[in-house]
Amino acid sequence: MATSDSPLDTLGDLMRAAQQGDGAAYARLLRTITPRIRQVVRRQRGFAGAAEVEDLVQDVLLSVHSVRSTYDPSRPFEPWLTAIVRNRLVDGARRYGRIARREVQVDELDVTFSGLEAKDESARLGDAAAVREAVQALPEQQREAIELLKLRELSLKEAAQVSGRSIGALKVATHRAMATLRITLAKRRE
C-alpha cells in the first residue's frame, strides 16, 4: 500500500499516475499488488510449485501492464485487478490442463543407459547452466521462440499470440535455435 505521506494514497491513484507515464508510481503499484497476487495464486493453486506460482504472478503483472488503459480512474481499482487475476488464473488452469493431457506418465526406468546415443537430448547436451548460457547467446527471435515453446511450454498458437509472430516464423526460429544449440553445446563438450 502507498505510504501515508505520499500524495498517491490509493492503488487507483498510483494507476492513474502510471497511466500518465509516472514510472515510479507504477513501480510502487506493482510492488504493492505483487504480494497480494502471489497470495491469491498460492491459495487458488495450492498444488503449484514456487516456480509455477511466480510464473502465474508474472503473467498477471504482464496482463495488468498490457491493459492498463482499461482502468477507469473514477472506479475502484480492486475489482479491476481481481477480474484480471481471476481471468489469468483460469487461463493458467486451462494451459495446465492441456499440458497435463499431452504428458504421458511412465514408471521410472530402473535401467541406466551408458551409451551416449541411448540418452535423451537433454542428457546429452549437458548441464542446465550450459544450456541456459547457450540459450541466452541465441539471436533475439530464436531465443524468444525457445523461451515460449520449450521453457514456458506454450502451444504454437499461444506462442504466436504472445510474440505477435506467425506460427510458421516460430517453427523456423525454433528449428534454427535447436540446430544452433546442438552445435554450441557439442563444441562445449569437446
Binding site: 502510471a18 504482464l62 488503459s69 477507469d72
Partner: protein, 218 residues
C-alpha cells in the same frame, strides 16, 4: 526469472497510456458511424420497404427493436473488455435481442405462408447484405475492442457479431420489401444467430492476450 526484475523493467519502460473512454461512450461512437454507414448502404440500395404503403407501425417497431438490440449489444461488447464491470449491459443486450425476436415472431407470422419461407430465394440478397455489408463494421468494431482486455473472448465476439448483424439486418429490411415477418424471422434471424454463434466459437482467434515478453535472466 525474477519478479522484481519484471516489475523494474515494466516500470522503467512504462509509456503513458490514456484511459479508454467508458464503454457506453465508445459504443456510441462506433454505433453512430455504423448507423451512417448502413444508412448510406440502404439509400444506395433503394430504401423502399416501409414506405411503399405508407408508415407501417409494426414494421418500424421491429426495426426499432433491432436497432436498440444492436446498440445495447455493442455497449455490452465494449463493457466485456473492461475488467471489473458488472454484467448489467450484457443482460440488457440479451433481453433486447429476445424482445426483438419476440416482436418479429408476434407480428403477422400467423397468416404467413410458411411454405414460401424456404423458397424465398431473394432472401439470399439479404444474407449477402448482412454478411458483406456487416464485415467492415465488424472489422472496425473488432479493432476497437482489441484495445481492451480479452477477458471473455467468446462473449465479446458474440455481442460484437450480434450488434453488427442486427444493424445490418435493419439496412437489409429497409432496402428490400419482405412479404412477411416469417421470412425475416427465419432468414435474417438465422443469419444473425449463425453469425453470433460463429463469432463466439472463433472469439479466441480475435481476442487474446498480447503480453510483453518477460525479461531475460541476468
Amino acid at each position: 526469472m525474477n519478479t522484481d526484475d519484471l516489475v523494474q523493467k515494466l516500470a522503467h519502460e512504462l509509456e503513458a497510456a490514456a484511459p479508454l473512454r467508458r464503454p457506453a461512450a465508445r459504443a456510441g461512437t462506433w454505433f453512430a458511424g455504423a448507423t451512417l454507414y448502413v444508412a448510406a448502404l440502404a439509400i444506395g440500395m433503394g430504401f423502399v420497404n416501409g414506405y411503399s404503403d405508407g408508415f407501417d407501425v409494426a414494421f418500424w417497431a421491429v426495426q426499432a427493436a433491432a436497432f436498440v438490440t444492436s446498440l445495447l449489444a455493442s455497449a455490452a461488447a465494449f463493457a466485456s473488455v473492461v475488467p471489473g464491470l458488472p454484467s448489467r449491459l450484457r443482460a440488457l443486450a440479451v433481453a433486447a435481442a429476445a424482445l426483438w425476436l419476440a416482436t418479429l415472431a408476434a407480428t403477422p407470422t400467423a397468416e404467413a405462408d410458411w411454405s414460401a419461407v424456404a423458397s424465398a430465394a431473394h432472401e439470399w440478397w439479404c444474407v449477402g447484405f448482412i454478411v458483406a455489408g456487416g464485415a467492415p463494421l465488424l472489422a472496425v468494431l473488432t479493432r476497437m475492442l482489441r484495445r481492451g482486455a480479452p477477458l471473455n473472448p467468446a462473449t465479446t465476439a458474440a455481442f460484437a457479431a450480434l450488434s453488427v448483424a442486427a444493424l445490418a439486418n435493419v439496412g437489409a429490411c429497409i432496402s428490400l420489401p419482405h412479404a412477411n415477418n416469417a421470412i425475416t424471422l427465419v432468414w435474417h434471424g438465422g443469419v444473425i444467430i449463425a453469425a453470433t454463434m460463429g463469432a463466439a466459437a472463433f472469439g479466441r482467434l480475435l481476442f487474446f492476450w498480447r503480453l510483453a515478453p518477460k525479461p531475460r535472466k541476468a
